[in-house]
Structure formats: C-alpha cells, structure tokens
C-alpha cells in the first residue's frame, strides 16, 4: 500500500547540512506489521514523519495506494492523514483541557460526522482499549499507560488503514508497554491494519512481522 522511492531527507542548519535519510526504498503491503529499529539519530522519526505525510522528502517520492503524494496540496494531504493514517506518539500528545472521550473524537472533527455518531464511535473504541470507564476523566487523571491507550484509541477511531507509532512504548514501563503492544498486535491480526512502529525494544520488534534497520540514514539488510 505504500511505496517509498529513493527518499532522501536533508536538514539545512546554520553551517552544516544533515543527511537524515539517504536513498530509502521501501515497499509495505497491506496488513504488515513493520518495526523500524536503529540507533538514536539514525533517521527513524524522519522516515516515519515522511510516511505520515507530516514532512516533505527532499528527494524521491511516495506512492500511497499507487498514487503519488503531492506535498504542495495541503487540503488533500490533510484529508489523507485524516482518513487513512493514525498516529501514536511517544509523548501521548493528549489535550489536557479535553476529556478523554473528546480527545478520542478529535480526528472525527475533521470529517463530516454528526456529534452523536462521533460520540458513539469514540465510546466504542474506548471500550476496545479497555477504558470505557474513564471516558469522562481528564488525561491528567490517568496513568501513563492509560494515557497512551487513549492516544491509541484516538489513532484508531477513524479506522485508518495505516497506523504509525513512533516509540509508542518509549515512555512506559515494560508492563504498560506490553499492554499497548498487545492492542497493536490484535489490531493487526483482527482488522488487518497496517502498522509501522519505531522502537528501541528488541523484544517488541521481534513480535512484529518484519524488522527494518536503519543506520546513518540508510536501510541495512
């Protein structure tokens, strides 16, 4: 479903140019659970951001379901992100002023869905991650693991075909990380959702269907 074709990413800073990604080719099929590993600073997040259409590659192109992505068209880009992609971040990124259920509803705000239907969908997905009892709490009232499960629910509520997770368990202890990982595994096997996950944890990576390693901006095989 995703094809990366010779992706390069340079960051231009004051005096020097950082080559974060060099000539990345990658082909990811529907239903794969890919983990991306590599040392710090090797370009994992940069790659994930480009796959998530949050950042534009310096060179190369991305095909999404066979179509080339035009990074200049903000509205279309936003639509693809909204309908096809779900994000999970290392540091949860929940809006503290909103209740759990309102946080989960956020992606649906950018679709034409009635408020009552949004609420129903959010509650349903919260049930799936085992947090239906917490729906009217505020994020600050939850544990880290619970917060990340809210973030997972938010990523899933729009039923995206692709889930991107940048170190989703990085801020969690191993037990809570395991809970989140189990949700992702079930999602992959039950709903056939494609997942790309960046992780430093070898044992988690081994539970996925494919491991990609990056070193210094290059894929190594």
């Amino acid at each position: 479903m995703i094809k990366l074709d010779n992706i390069c990413k340079y960051y231009q800073t004051d005096r020097m140019e950082t080559q974060a990604l060099r000539n990345i080719d990658m082909d990811i099929q529907q239903g794969e659970f890919v983990s991306i590993m590599g040392p710090s600073g090797c370009g994992k997040s940069s790659l994930l951001n480009i796959i998530g259409l949050l950042d534009e590659p310096s060179e190369g192109q991305i095909l999404f379901d066979g179509e080339e992505i035009q990074f200049k068209r903000d509205k279309e880009l936003a639509q693809v992100r909204n309908q096809k992609i779900g994000f999970i971040f290392q540091s949860f990124h929940l809006i503290n002023d909103l209740k759990v259920v309102d946080n989960v509803e956020l992606p649906l705000l950018y679709r034409k869905i009635k408020a009552s239907e949004r609420r129903r969908m959010a509650l349903e997905i919260l049930d799936k991650v085992g947090l239906s009892a917490r729906s009217s709490h505020f994020p600050s009232q939850l544990s880290g693991g619970q917060q990340q499960r809210v973030a997972v629910a938010r990523a899933l509520v729009g039923k995206p075909a692709l889930l991107l997770a940048d170190e989703p368990t990085g801020n969690l202890d191993s037990q809570m990380g395991n809970e989140v990982m189990t949700i992702l595994e079930n999602l992959n096997s039950d709903d056939n959702t494609t997942i790309i996950m960046v992780t430093h944890d070898k044992s988690l990576a081994e539970r996925t269907t494919r491991i990609e390693r990056i070193f210094d901006g290059r894929l190594i095989h």
């Binding site: 950042d55 936003a78 909204n82 950018y110």
Partner: protein, 413 residues
C-alpha cells in the same frame, strides 16, 4: 465542531488568567472607546423623529456679519436675511425659517408649566416629517393670512388639558390666543430643529418689528428632495454670501455655511467658528481616529496571540497530524479570537453605558445629550467582529502554517 472550539477557548482563557485579563482589558477598553464614539455619532446623525429627513436639508443658524473697523457680529440671522438672501436661492426646492426656543408659561390649576414654542412657516411642516396624532399642520394660506392656529406636542396637550384629543381648543401663547389644529408626537431633544412643544405661524407675531431686523434669532432650513443636490445648495449659499451680498445697515459683508448633518456634528464637537469652512471633514477625521484607536490594541493583541502560538504549537501539530487542514486551523483560531473579543465586547458595552451616562450627565456634548440605544449594541457587535478578525487573522495565519513536525516537538499541549 464550533461548540468544541468555543469550549476549548473557554478552557484556554481560564488556564492562562494573566493573559486573559490583559487581553480582555485591552479589548474592552478599545471597544468601549469605539462604542462611545459611535453613540455620539449615532445620536447626531440618525433620527427617527421629524429630523429623519436630515439627509435632505441644510440648516442655516449662524452668520458672521462684518462691519467696518473690524467690527463683527456672529449670531443667528434675522428676518431680512432670510427674506432677501435665503428665499432668493435657486437650488433649494423649499426654504423655511423658524424662531425656536421661546418660553411660554401657563398655569393650570395653580401648576406652572413651561413650554417651548416656535414661530415658523408652512414649509417647516413639509421639510420635517412630524408624526401627527390628531389634526394637521397650518397651510401656506393660513400662514399668509396670519391665522392664529397652533400645533402642539402630545405631552403639552396632556399638560394643558389632561387629554390628547384637543383639536379646536384654545391655548394662550405669548398673550395671544391660538386654536389647536394639530397634535404631534413628542420630539426628542436629540433633534434640536424640531424639538419644541408648541408651533405657531410667525405671521402672528404680536408686532411687525421682526420684519425690520437683519440679524435676529432665526434659523432656516434649505430643502431638496434629492439629497445629491445638497452640495450644490451649500455652495450656492456660500457663494451668494461671498459675491452677491448687498451691504445692509452697518454690515458690509457676511460669511457662513449652510450645515449638513455632518457639519452640525463636526461644529458641535469641534468648533463654533464658522470660518472652519468644512466641518464634514471632522467626521471623516473622527473615523480615521477611531481606526487609529483600534490599531494600537490590535497590534497588541496580535502580539499576545503570537506569543500564545508557542504555547499551543504542539496542539497545532497534533491537529495537523490528525487531519486538520490549514484553513480549518485558520478558522478555529479566528473563531477563538472572535469569541475573546465578544467577551471583551460585553465588558466594553457595560463600560461605555457607564461612560455615556456620565458624559450625558456632565453635558459633555453641547446642546444635545447622548444616550445608549439598541443601535449602539449593533455598533458594538460590528466593532468587536471587525476587531476580532483584524487581530486574529495574522496570528491565526501564522499558526496554521506551523510545520507539524516542529510543532509536535514541543512537549506541552
């Protein structure tokens, strides 16, 4: 979605109370000034009584007469001036003269009533749009014949007769008896050309002395049904005074303007010197100043808003990742800002009601009180919307273009 934005804004405002207080203070003060200015303008320019025709007439109420050796007299013109100069103007369709503000004292059952009365002609009723409850105005014929007929306001009728239907009854004005032929609705004092209690034909003056005086206590109206003709009327009057003035008595020249409603506002607020030829420009300047007044707090609010971007950048990054387009974010932040200004507007309205009340109390504006009316609420809304958009667009634009990856790197939401 809309409700969600408002809710989030509300939370935001509560979270950063200092920011909120400073913003709201600035906004409400600015809006208060603007609303007060609007109220003053409104009270002068828009009427719903007889002077609602004020787009169609000019008022002549002050002339500077000059005599040799730098003697001059500034004041209202007299009957001769009206007859020899104003009546001969070619541009106006109708001219009318009146002498108003005279006091008539009546005792009814030992109670003393003071009513203002006005000597005028038949055209006065055609130029101004009085609302007759009973009866009618006096006609040109009755005016020419010097018929002793009177139009009175409804509260005068109640004062004198304890009822409103008083057609045919006799009243005493300046020691003469007049028959009431019309009762009109009361006129608010915002409309000084029309706000009297009793009107009688000036052909019923007790003596004919008034016909000999060049200066006096008269005002005149120059009317045209097409308001586009007002500038022509105005310049004809000015040029007649300048070029065709025939010396009369000690006066060898005269100067003055026929005032539009804007002139009247400008002269009242700004200067009584009729040598300031075009007082309308004052009104334009005032609008310009209103704009300047708004500019400073706008810049201020823009700044505050931009510094708030930094605080919220991770929310922006998140929303982008979840699929918000730039335009949707732009919309969100403008809505937020308008919400903020509307709250500020509420305070501004309260503040300006107090200020307007106070200004009216101390007589800040000569010769006409100001008041807060429903239209002022409308002005307040328009101003705050304008202000909200002006101060919101730039920060919102900048926010909406933040790079999502960079925005997301900020930890706090």
């Amino acid at each position: 979605m809309f409700k969600g934005y408002i809710y989030l804004t509300w939370k935001m405002l509560l979270r950063d109370k200092t920011f909120t207080a400073i913003s709201l203070f600035g906004i409400s003060l600015t809006l208060c000034v603007l609303i007060t200015i609007s109220a003053v303008f409104d009270n002068y320019l828009f009427h719903d009584g007889p002077e609602k025709t004020n787009n169609n007439f000019l008022l002549v109420r002050n002339v500077i007469f000059e005599a040799p050796e730098q003697n001059f007299k500034s004041g209202k013109p007299g009957y001769i001036f009206f007859h020899q100069i104003l009546k001969k103007l070619k541009e106006p369709q109708l001219t009318s003269a009146y002498e108003g503000g005279l006091k008539n004292i009546t005792f009814v059952d030992d109670k003393k009533y003071t009513h203002s009365y006005c000597y005028t002609d038949a055209n006065y009723w055609k130029i101004l749009d009085f609302d007759f409850i009973h009866g009618r105005a006096f006609s040109s014929m009755e005016f020419e014949q010097g018929s002793k007929l009177a139009v009175i306001s409804v509260s005068t009728a109640r004062d004198l007769f304890q009822e409103e239907q008083v057609i045919g009854k006799i009243i005493q004005v300046h020691n003469q008896q007049y028959q009431v032929i019309g009762v009109v609705k009361d006129v608010s004092s915002y409309e000084p050309v029309a706000s009297f209690d009793i009107w009688v034909p000036y052909t019923t003056y007790p003596s004919l002395q008034y016909r000999n005086s060049f200066d006096g206590d008269w005002s005149a109206l120059l009317y045209h049904e097409d308001k586009k003709k007002l500038p022509a009327m105005k310049s004809e009057y000015t040029s007649v005074l300048k070029n065709n003035f025939e010396p009369i008595g000690p006066w060898f020249s005269a100067e003055g303007i026929a005032e539009t409603k804007y002139d009247r506002l400008g002269l009242t607020l700004y200067s009584s010197h009729y040598r300031e030829a075009d007082a309308s420009s004052f009104v334009k300047y005032s609008l310009f100043y209103a704009f300047l007044i708004m500019l400073l707090p706008t810049v201020n609010l823009v700044n505050l808003n931009i510094s708030r971007i930094m605080e919220r950048s991770s929310e922006i990054g998140l929303r982008k990742a979840l699929g918000a387009s730039r335009n949707q974010l732009l919309f969100q932040f403008i809505v937020e800002n308008i919400f903020l200004t509307v709250i500020g507007c509420l305070f501004g309205v309260l503040l300006s009601v107090l200020i307007i009340d106070h200004l009216a109390g101390i007589g800040f504006v000569r010769s006409a009180p100001i008041s807060f009316n429903l239209r002022c609420v409308a002005y307040a809304l328009v101003w705050s919307l304008l202000f909200g958009v002006l101060s919101g667009v730039l920060p919102a634009y900048r926010m909406s273009r933040l790079h999502p990856v960079i925005a997301l790197k900020k930890e706090k939401i």
